[in-house]
Symmetry: C3
Subunit: 139 residues, 3 copies
């Protein structure tokens, strides 16, 4: 049994979803752990994590549009807007998705379904560097 | 300390919530682990996991209706509808709930509250077989 | 490698967010674990967990108002209202946020971002005592 915690960064190009499944898989492979879990956490409050359909990009187009409508940028009641109209909405969209996600590991690989990928969901209009922490625990 | 990863399947009968607390408890019991965590992940992008009130079924009736209204099937902007009007909405409803849930284990049992149960939330109209992966880690 | 599971309680004063980062940190510190994960679970279905911006309180003001609007208390279709107009809405707001959150540990500390705090999100109008379970696993 052992535990390792690593971090990696990705560059986003503003609002949208960015797959990180391969980066997480590399941390697991480097750990040598065959059975256990991978815990993934994004160290930000204006971007989040989702596990989502990674085959047909149209699913992600609908996702992006859905969040623009569910949490619109132009609500009169917002007060946390010092950094722009995408400031408070980034936190609200983050809180409706995930900060951490944990994936079982079997036979040295993540036990994900066929169509599942791990994505960073960037909620800010501007490009950002985002840091992801990964802990792998097991044997 | 040890780690085990198992999977089990359930049959859903279309949209709704299906309790799986007992199936997860059986994986923990079989592992012999007394202190640690159980990580539960549903290997699908059109069904999700929730921990929800498991005593009064009316709480689940309101939940189902709430999601029909929050993510209606008939929005004009949807493009990911190749499999029907419940295609893109299944992904959107999944992303608002959970893919993985992790439960602390103490004294060989999940440290859940009195009214908490683990449920699969099926978002497709048709019956489906759903696979759930469970990793138990601890001593 | 070892695993410990502890619980602690907090008193809420009704609807709102209550930071528990320090209480979780104390469980980690007492465990002596330097590398691994902390799993946090709230044992209730009318309160939830979030990791949220902990610097500017205006972000939390917007969060509270957003949930009042996204899940209003006065919908005609609600049937799970035996305990009041905040009964079913507490479950619905809980299911849109989190019951469990898992944080990687590196160098004996949670690998959280600069602005991230762990909060209990109380959804009931009345004050409540809430129990949080924490499992720390690692070396």
């Amino acid at each position: 049994m052992k535990a390792v915690t690593e971090t990696f960064t990705i560059r986003t190009r503003g609002k949208g979803t960015y797959e990180i499944t391969d980066q997480v898989a590399r941390v697991i492979q480097a750990s040598g752990i065959r059975t256990g879990t991978a815990t993934v956490l994004i160290q930000h409050t204006s971007a989040s994590l989702i596990i989502y359909e990674n085959a047909d990009p149209s699913a992600r187009t609908d996702l992006h549009e859905f969040f623009e409508r569910l949490v619109p940028e132009d609500e009169d009641y917002y007060i946390h807007t010092a950094e722009g109209s995408d400031d408070t909405t980034s936190h609200l969209r983050m809180v409706l998705t995930r900060t951490s996600e944990v994936i079982p590991i079997a036979d040295g690989r993540m036990a994900l379904g066929t169509w599942q990928g791990i994505f960073v969901f960037e909620h800010r209009r501007a490009a950002h560097q985002r840091t992801i922490a990964v802990s792998v625990i097991g044997a």
